[in-house]
Amino acid sequence: MQINKFFLGGALILAAVVYLIFSSTQASAEYFMTVDEVKAEGTAAIGKSLRLSGAVLGDSIQYDPETLTLTFDVAHVSGNNAEIEAQGGLALVLYQAVNDPSRQRVTVIYVGPKPDLLRGEAQAIMTGKLGEDGIFYADELLLKCPTKYEQAVPEQASSN
C-alpha cells in the first residue's frame, strides 16, 4: 500500500518528464545541415527549422547599420568534425572552402548587431529557415574562428 503510493507518484513524474522532453524536442528540433544538403533537398528544405554551417566569404559581408541587416554568403564545408580533422583541420578546410569557386554557396540574411567574430574564413553556424527565394534567414548566428582556438604553427618569416 505504502509502496504503491510512492511508485504511483514516481510513475506520474516520470510520465510528465517523458512528455515534456518529447513534446519540447518536437517543437524545437533543428536539422543540422550543410550547404550541399540544403541544395540537394531543394524546395523540401524550405520552412524547416535548420541549423546550417558554412564558411564565411569575406568579400560578401555587407552590413546596413540603418536596418541592422547583415548579408553574407557561406560556402559548403563538411558538417562532420572527424572529416574536417582528416582534411587537415578546421582552418585549412575553411580556407579551401572560401577559395574554391566550385563549392555550393548560400546567401544568409541576419538582422541584429554585427557579431564580433564575423569575418572571412570564419565558420558560421546559423539557426533559421530557408526562404522560398533560396536565401537563408538566420535567427541566430554562432561563429568560430579557428585561429583563435586552434593550435597553429607560427609563420616562419616572423623569425627574421
Binding site: Q2, G10, L20, T25, S28, F32, P65, N81, P113, L142
Partner: protein
Amino acid sequence: MFAEFGYGILVVAFLVALYSVVAAIYGATNKSASLVESARRAMLLTFPLISIAAASLIYLLVNDHYEVSFVYEVTSRSMPTYLKITAWWGGQAGSLVFWSFLLSAFASAVTLRKWERDIEFLPWVIVVCSVTLIFFLGLVIFYENPFTRFWLVGGNVEPHMFAPLNATLFTAQDGQGLNPLLRHPGMVIHPPMLYLGFVSYVIPYAFAMAALITGRTDDRWIRLTRRWSLWAWLFLSFGLVLGGRWAYDVLGWGGYWGWDPVEIAAFMPWLTGTAFLHSVMIQEKRGLLKHWNMILVILTYSLVIFGTFLTRSGVLSSVHAFANSPIGPLFMGFVSLSLIVSIALVIWRWPDLQSETEMKSMLSREALFLLNNLLFMSILVVCFWGVIFPLASELFTGQKITVGPPFYERATAPLFSALLFLMAVAPLSAWGHSTVQTLGRAMWKSAVAASIVTVILFFTYTSKIGALIGFFLVTLILFVTFQEFWRGARARQKVQGENFFTALSRLMGRNRRRYGGYIIHISMALMAIGILGIEIFQTSTQGLLAQGEELEIAGYTVKYRELASWDDAGKGVNFTRATVDIYENGIYLGELNPRIDYYFDSQQNMTIPGNRSTFRDDLYILLVDWQPVSNMGATFKIYVNPLVNWLWIGSLLFLVGIIFAAWPDHDPAEEPVRNVRRVGQSSAAD
C-alpha cells in the same frame, strides 16, 4: 631549459602518483600501515612537484618564451603580466595542468587531516585521488603537453617536446595572444572557480568509494565530506554565476545564459551536486536513501569528468569549445570505466546499504526531499538529452538534429516551477510524518499574503499568466522562509528570555546548515525574480542615430551625443566610444558609454555595453556600428531588461548563504549520531 625541467617534473609526479596507487592498494590488502603511510607521503609529494611544474610554465608564460607552443598560442607581448599568468588556464594543455594542480592540492589537504577513527578509508581515498590524478597527468604528458616547443626541421616549423635530429629551436617573434573576449576579470576567475568546484567533488566521491570498498557503509563518509561537498557546490555555483555575468557584460547579446552545450556541461554536475546536498540530509536524519546517495556522488564525479571532456574535446559545436583533439576518446573511456567500476561496487554492497527505516508519509520532509531529488534528476535528464540528442540522432537516423534554447526553456520551466513550490513547502513539513492539515496550518498565512501580492501585481505590473505563477511562487517562498526565521527566533526568545535579535543570531549560529539553507532559498527566489524579468519582460529596439537624435524605449529616451575613437598602442587596442544621454520621462539621468574595442593582434572586436542598472530594470546599450568618415551617425541596439539586477543580488546572497552554512565552527564528525526512533518530531527541532 625551463620547458624540459617542467616536463621532467610532471613525469616524476606521474610516477610518484602511480607508486602511491600501488603502495596504497598493497598496503590496504596486506594490512601494512607503513606501506599506506608511504603511499600517503607519495600523494603529498605530488603537490610540490606539480606546483614546481606549474611555476615553470608560468615563468615561460610571463617571460615571453615564444619557442614554447602553448606560450605562443595563449599570450602575446602586449598582454599585461596578470593576464599572462592567468593564460595558464586559457588553453587546453595548461588547463589540464591546472586541473592536476588543484586535485593534488585537495588530495594533499585531505590526507593531512587526522585519520585515527577512519584510518581504513585512507588507502582507498588515496587510490581514487591518485588514479584521477594519473589520468590527468597522463593526458598532459602523452597528449597535451604545454611544454612542447617549436623546432626548425628541414625548413619547416614543427612542434616537438624534444629536439628532432638536425633541428634548431625556433622562437616566434610574438604570440597569438589570448582571445580578447577572455581578457575580462570575470573570465579570469570563472574557469578556476568552475575547476575548483569540479575538483572538490573528487573528494566526496573518493570517500564514497572508500566506504564501499571497506564496507563501512554507514553515513560516516557523508559526515566526513559534508564540508567538501558544500565548498565544491559553492565554487561550482560561483563559477556558473560568474560565467553568466561575463556573458552579460562582454558578449553583448543582452543575455546571461544561452543553453550552450558547454554551459550545460558545467550545469549538470551542479544539478546532481544540489540533489546530493539535499538527499544526504535524509540519510543523516533518517537513514534512508543510502543507495541513492552513492549513485548521486558517482554521477556527480562522472559528470565532472564528462564536463571537462565536453569543454575540451570539440565534440559539440559551441562557442566555448577548444579545438578537436585526440583526448576526447580517452575522456570517454575514463568516464565509462570509472562509472562501471563504481556502479559495480554499489551493486556488490547493495545489501549493506539498506534503509534503516521506511518512508511512510507522502508529505513528510523526507518524501518532499525525495521529490526535490527527482525534480533535479529530471532537469538533468532534460539537459543530458539535449546535449546528446544531436549525436544520438545522427547515430540512429543518419540525420543530425539538434535542439536549441527553446527546448530547454520549454522542458525545464515546469520543473523549475515545481522546485520553487517545493522550496516553499518542504521547510514546513516534519520529518517522518506530515499531513495536508499540518502543512496547511503552517502555510495558510504565507499563501494568503503571496496571493494578495500576486493580485496586486496583476493589476499594476503584468497580466501574463507565466509571470504571475512565477511571482506567486517566489513571494510564497519569501513569506514562508521569513516566517520560519521569525517563528524560530520567537520560540527561542520565549524560552531563553533573550531579545529578538540575540535570539535570531544565536538560533542561526547553532543551526548553520538549516539557516544557511534558508538564506540560499531566499537568494534562489531573488534570482528567480531576475530570470522571470529578463526572460518574460525583456524589450529591445535599435536604430541609426545622427548626433542629437533620440530613441525611445520603455519610458527611457536615449540621445546620441558624440563618438570618440583612439588607439592605445601600449595595449594594442583601438577604442571607439559613444556617449549617449539618458532621460526618463524628460528627467536627465546621466550618460552611458557603450564602446567597441578592436584588438590589433587578434583582429577582433569586443563589444562592451553601456549599462545602467537599477532595482527596477537595466538599460543595456550596445554600440553596433558607426560611420567612421563623417563621424555623424552611429547604430545602437538597446535592451531594457526588467528586474535582472535581482539575479546578481540573489547570487551574492547565495554566496553568503553557502559560506554561512559551510563556515567551519566545529567538527561535524563529532555530532551525536542520529536516533532513528525519533519519528514525527517537529521540524524546528533538527
